[in-house]
């Protein structure tokens, strides 16, 4: 099924999910509103025609000018081999972009549908700051309930890949000032 066909099918099924297709891009994708993402994801995963069973990647992008954070999902749909050589083939590829407002970036977690989403969502929260609701590995702290950080330490401040991120000046007593003269050794 082509991406155009998938987009039309989704538009038909979910008329109020704000589905838009960007087909002219080199990375053709479908845009979905975050509040409808969970039902769309379940459809993509379970529909016998589509069956996108392989989540390849989740990318977080900070579109600061549009005041939006995007979670971009890339899917494969695998097909068991029909030929004698046993080679698995792709039934289709799909990219979905979920755009969330920058001041309240809430996107439902899809960990129960794709196991791979677990770490990708944690990373996207850690680096870009998209809060995936109902993530199985969540913690509560001053920032509310959010997925546990994965790459940065748990007490890290801010989300480094946001465009307005400010670098820390020190971390637990280790200076981090990126002025060559100021980061020289303290020991003899």
């Amino acid at each position: 099924m082509t991406i155009e066909g998938i987009a039309n099918l989704l538009k038909e099924k979910f008329p109020d999910a704000g589905i838009e297709a960007r087909l002219e891009s080199r990375h053709p994708h479908v845009i979905v509103k975050p509040e409808h993402w969970l039902t769309v994801a379940e459809f993509l995963r379970n529909d016998p025609q589509l069956k996108f069973d392989w989540l390849r990647c989740i990318t977080g992008v900070d579109y600061i000018e549009d005041k939006q954070l995007a979670a971009i999902y890339d899917f494969h749909s695998t097909q068991r081999p029909a030929q004698s050589d046993g080679l698995w083939s792709a039934r289709g590829e799909l990219s979905v972009k979920v755009l969330a407002p920058r001041d309240n970036p809430m996107v439902p977690s899809v960990c129960h549908l794709w196991g791979a989403a677990d770490w990708h969502e944690r990373e996207t929260y850690d680096l870009v700051g998209i809060n995936f609701q109902n993530h199985p590995d969540s913690v509560d702290d001053l920032n509310g309930r959010h997925p546990r950080r994965i790459l940065c330490p748990d007490d890290w401040q801010g989300h480094p890949l946001q465009k307005d991120y400010e670098f820390p000046l020190e971390y637990h007593g280790i200076p981090a000032v990126t002025e060559f003269g100021q980061t020289r050794p303290l020991h003899g």
Binding site: Y171, H172, A176, P185, H187, G188
Partner: protein
């Protein structure tokens, strides 16, 4: 060797004993298996067939800091890792030495400017004896660094170190 170190007043002639102890120490440096990043692969290459660090008596890679004399910090040290590096260093018995291998450990290397999570030099965390530049350094460079460390060990003395108190104080405050 604390039972003998710093027990003799300055000026007491201990050169032959020094020579014997340093000969032993410098030719049996046991490094810790402590690979962080890319440089660790070159460190593995140093231990493997062609370069063979065993020729210099430093081939007994120990898996625990408690049995090793030398920590080769091979790779980028991050803030998350820094406290572990420090702890491992403190777990090593005296006398202990540190080689900073590669640009990242010397001063942040290619990650200096935009690396928000990279320690700008492992010498901010633990004291370093020998710096081996390169990204990553060639195995020959690490062997050279090892030989410079051996030179340094040969210059040690068990006589009283007049700067010992000052050094310890500086290290404690760091």
């Amino acid at each position: 060797m604390s039972w003998i170190e710093n027990r003799f007043e300055e000026g007491l002639i201990v050169t032959s004993l020094d020579w014997a102890i340093n000969w032993g120490r410098s030719n049996a440096i046991w490094p810790m298996t402590f690979g962080l990043a890319c440089c660790a692969i070159e460190m593995m290459a140093v231990g493997a067939s062609r370069f063979d660090i065993d020729r210099f008596g430093a081939g007994a890679f120990r898996a625990t800091p408690r049995q090793s004399d030398l920590m080769i910090v091979a790779g980028t040290v991050t803030y998350k890792m820094a406290s572990r590096v420090k702890r491992l260093y403190h777990q090593m018995p005296e006398p202990k030495y540190v080689i900073a291998m590669g640009a990242c450990t010397i001063g942040g290397g290619p990650y200096f400017k935009h690396g928000y999570h990279v320690v700008k030099g492992v010498d901010l965390v633990v004291p370093v004896d020998v710096y081996v530049p390169g990204c990553p350094p060639r195995p020959e460079a690490l062997l050279e660094g090892l030989m410079r460390l051996q030179d340094k060990i040969r210059g040690q003395s068990i006589a009283k170190d007049r700067w010992r108190d000052v050094k310890e104080e500086a290290f404690a405050s760091a």
